[in-house]
C-alpha cells in the first residue's frame, strides 16, 4: 500500500535519474493521441446510435397504424366504426384518419405525384397514438376483427425490431472498439516501457548499487509514461472533437453524431483513463523487468 502511494504521489528526483528518451517519448505521446482521437469518434458514434435508437424506440412504441379494407361501398361505415372502437379503447390517446392528401404523399414515392386516389381502391389508414399506459393490442385486434373483417392493426414491429437490433449492435461494436483501443494503448505503453527499461539497464544497475528500491526505480518510468499517455490523450481528445465538428452537416444521422448532456463526461475522462492505463501498464512492465534483472 505504501509502495502504491509512493508511486502515485511521485517524486521529481526519481524522474531525473532516468535519462530522457527522445523517440520513445514522442511515439508514446503520438500513439496515445491517435488512440484517444479514435476513442472519441467511436464513443460519439456509439452514443449517437444509442440516442437515435432510443428515440425511434420511444416514438414507434407509441404509434400504430390501422388499415381498413379497400372496399368503396363500406369505406365510410368502416371508418366510423373503427374510430368509435378506438375512442372507446382504454390506452388509445388519439386516433386520426389520414386525409387523401396524406395518403397520396405516402404513395407518391412509388406511384408518382399524379396518382388519382379516387380511381383506385386504396385502404384507409388511421394513425393511432397510445397512452403512456398502452392499449392491449390483442384485445383491440379481436374487437376489430369482429366489427370490421379485414382490418389490420400494424404496430410497426416488423421493421422497428430489426432497426433496434441493428442500433444495439452498432452500440456494442462502438464499445468493443473502445475496449480494443484501451487494450492497444496498454500494449503499446508496455512495449515502450520495456524498451525504455532495456535501454536503461545500466542506469538501473547503478541505482541498485547505490541502494535504490524497486519502487523508486519503477516510479521514474511510471511517472514518465503516465504523464505521456495522459498528455497524448488530451491532444487526441481535442483532435477528435475537432473532427466531429467538421463532419458534414447533411441532416439525418450525421447531424446526430456528437455528445450531448451527460455524454460529455466520456470524452473528458478519456485522458484520465489513458493515464490510468499508462500507470498500470508501465508499473507491471517495470516490476516484471526489475524482477528479471535481479
Amino acid at each position: 500500500m505504501t509502495a502504491l502511494l509512493e508511486l502515485i504521489m511521485g517524486d521529481p528526483q526519481a524522474d531525473r535519474v532516468v535519462p530522457p528518451t527522445g523517440i520513445t517519448a514522442k511515439l508514446t505521446i503520438f500513439v496515445s493521441a491517435v488512440m484517444a482521437m479514435l476513442a472519441v469518434i467511436a464513443l460519439a458514434l456509439s452514443l449517437s446510435t444509442g440516442r437515435v435508437a432510443d428515440r425511434w424506440a420511444d416514438e414507434l412504441s407509441q404509434a400504430a397504424t390501422l388499415r381498413l379494407p379497400a372496399d368503396p361501398e363500406s369505406a365510410s361505415a368502416h371508418l366510423l366504426k373503427a374510430l368509435e372502437i378506438l375512442e372507446t379503447t382504454p390506452g388509445v390517446a388519439s386516433a386520426r384518419a389520414l386525409s387523401s392528401e396524406e395518403q397520396q404523399e405516402l404513395l407518391a414515392p412509388w406511384f408518382g405525384d399524379d396518382l388519382l386516389l379516387d380511381t383506385m381502391p386504396i385502404p384507409q389508414l388511421i394513425e393511432i397514438v397510445a397512452d403512456d399506459a398502452p392499449y392491449d393490442p390483442e384485445g383491440l385486434r379481436a374487437r376489430l376483427a369482429a366489427e370490421i373483417p379485414g382490418a389490420v392493426l400494424d404496430e410497426h414491429d416488423s421493421w422497428r425490431e430489426p432497426l433496434l437490433a441493428a442500433a444495439k449492435r452498432v452500440r456494442f461494436i462502438g464499445w468493443a472498439v473502445i475496449l480494443l483501443i484501451g487494450a492497444s494503448v496498454a500494449a503499446m505503453i508496455t512495449l515502450a516501457a520495456q524498451a525504455s527499461l532495456s535501454a536503461n539497464a545500466q542506469v538501473i544497475r547503478v541505482l541498485r548499487l547505490v541502494g535504490a528500491r524497486d519502487v523508486y526505480i519503477a516510479r521514474a518510468f511510471v511517472q514518465r509514461y503516465t504523464l505521456r499517455s495522459g498528455l497524448g490523450a488530451i491532444a487526441g481528445v481535442v483532435l477528435g472533437l475537432i473532427v466531429l465538428q467538421v463532419l458534414p452537416d447533411s441532416g439525418g444521422f450525421f447531424s446526430e453524431i456528437g455528445f450531448v448532456g451527460f455524454g460529455w463526461v466520456w470524452p473528458l475522462i478519456i485522458p484520465l483513463l489513458a493515464a490510468v492505463v499508462g500507470f498500470f501498464a508501465t508499473r507491471s512492465a517495470a516490476f516484471a523487468r526489475l524482477k528479471e534483472q535481479t
Binding site: 528526483q13 535519474v17 547505490v210 535504490a212 528500491r213
Partner: protein, 224 residues
C-alpha cells in the same frame, strides 16, 4: 559486519573459489590482493550482495543475504559504500548529483545539500561539481566515486582497484582519504594488485592483507 562462510562461486561450471571464509570485523582495514582473474571483483560483489553465493552463506550485518528480498538487499547496500573500478556514474547527471545519488534514492535529499559541499571540498572536487562525469579526468572520477561511496556515512567501504586509473600522487591522496575514513570507525576493504601501494600505507594503518589465488584466500600464508 560482513561474513562469508564456506562460500563457493564459479562461472560456466568451473569453480572460481570454493569453501571460502572471510570475516570483516567492525573498524578493520583489509587489502584483498591476488593476480588478475583470481576473483577479487567477484569476491567484492558477493560482499555487497551484487552476486549470490552458489554454496555457503554470506551474512551482511548479521543477515543471510539469500533470505533477503530485493528491497532487503537495497537496504543493506545503503550501509555499504562501494567504489567501483569503472566508477559507474550516470552520465546525464552532474558530478554533484551523482555523488548525492545514494541520498536521493534513499529519500534523504534534504541532507544532500549540507553534506555535499563539505564532501566535495574533502575530495577536492568543489569546482567540478556542476560538470558531467565524461568531462572528468581519471583521478577526479575516482575521487567522485569515493565521495559517493561515503555520502551515506556507511558502515563498510568496499573499493575495487580505486587507484587503478590514477597516477601515484593521486593514488596516495585517495588512500589517505580511505585511511581517514577507517580512523573514523569505518570498515574498509580494498581490492588491489598493486603491492607498492600496500607497502606505502604500512606505517599509516594497521591493515590485514588477504591474498586470493587459485581459489583460496590466505592471510600471511595461512588459508582462511
Amino acid at each position: 559486519m560482513i561474513e562469508l562462510d564456506n562460500v563457493s562461486y564459479g562461472h560456466n561450471g568451473s569453480a572460481l573459489f570454493s569453501q571460502l571464509n572471510l570475516k570483516l570485523a567492525p573498524g578493520s582495514f583489509q587489502f584483498l590482493t591476488g593476480p588478475s582473474g583470481a576473483g577479487k571483483t567477484t569476491l567484492l560483489r558477493l560482499c555487497y550482495a551484487d552476486l549470490r553465493a552458489q554454496r555457503g552463506k554470506v551474512r551482511v550485518f548479521g543477515q543471510d543475504i539469500s533470505t533477503l528480498d530485493r528491497d532487503g538487499v537495497a537496504m543493506s547496500r545503503r550501509r555499504i559504500g562501494v567504489v567501483h573500478q569503472d566508477c559507474q556514474f550516470l552520465d546525464h547527471l552532474s558530478v554533484a548529483e551523482n555523488i548525492a545519488l545514494p541520498l536521493t534514492v534513499a529519500g534523504r535529499i534534504s541532507e544532500a545539500a549540507a553534506n555535499l559541499k563539505e564532501l566535495l571540498s574533502w575530495v577536492g572536487l568543489a569546482k567540478q561539481s556542476g560538470r558531467f562525469p565524461p568531462e572528468l579526468s581519471g583521478g577526479e572520477r575516482q575521487r567522485a566515486a569515493l565521495a559517493r561511496a561515503v555520502i551515506m556515512s556507511p558502515d563498510v567501504i568496499i573499493a575495487d582497484e580505486p587507484t587503478g586509473n590514477v597516477d601515484w600522487e593521486m593514488s596516495q591522496r585517495l588512500l589517505a582519504l580511505l585511511v581517514e575514513l577507517n580512523r573514523m570507525g569505518k570498515t574498509v576493504l580494498i581490492a588491489t594488485h598493486d603491492l607498492t601501494m600496500i607497502r606505502s600505507l604500512k606505517s599509516d594503518v594497521d591493515a590485514r592483507v588477504l591474498r586470493l589465488k587459485d581459489g583460496q584466500l590466505t592471510v600471511a600464508g595461512a588459508v582462511l
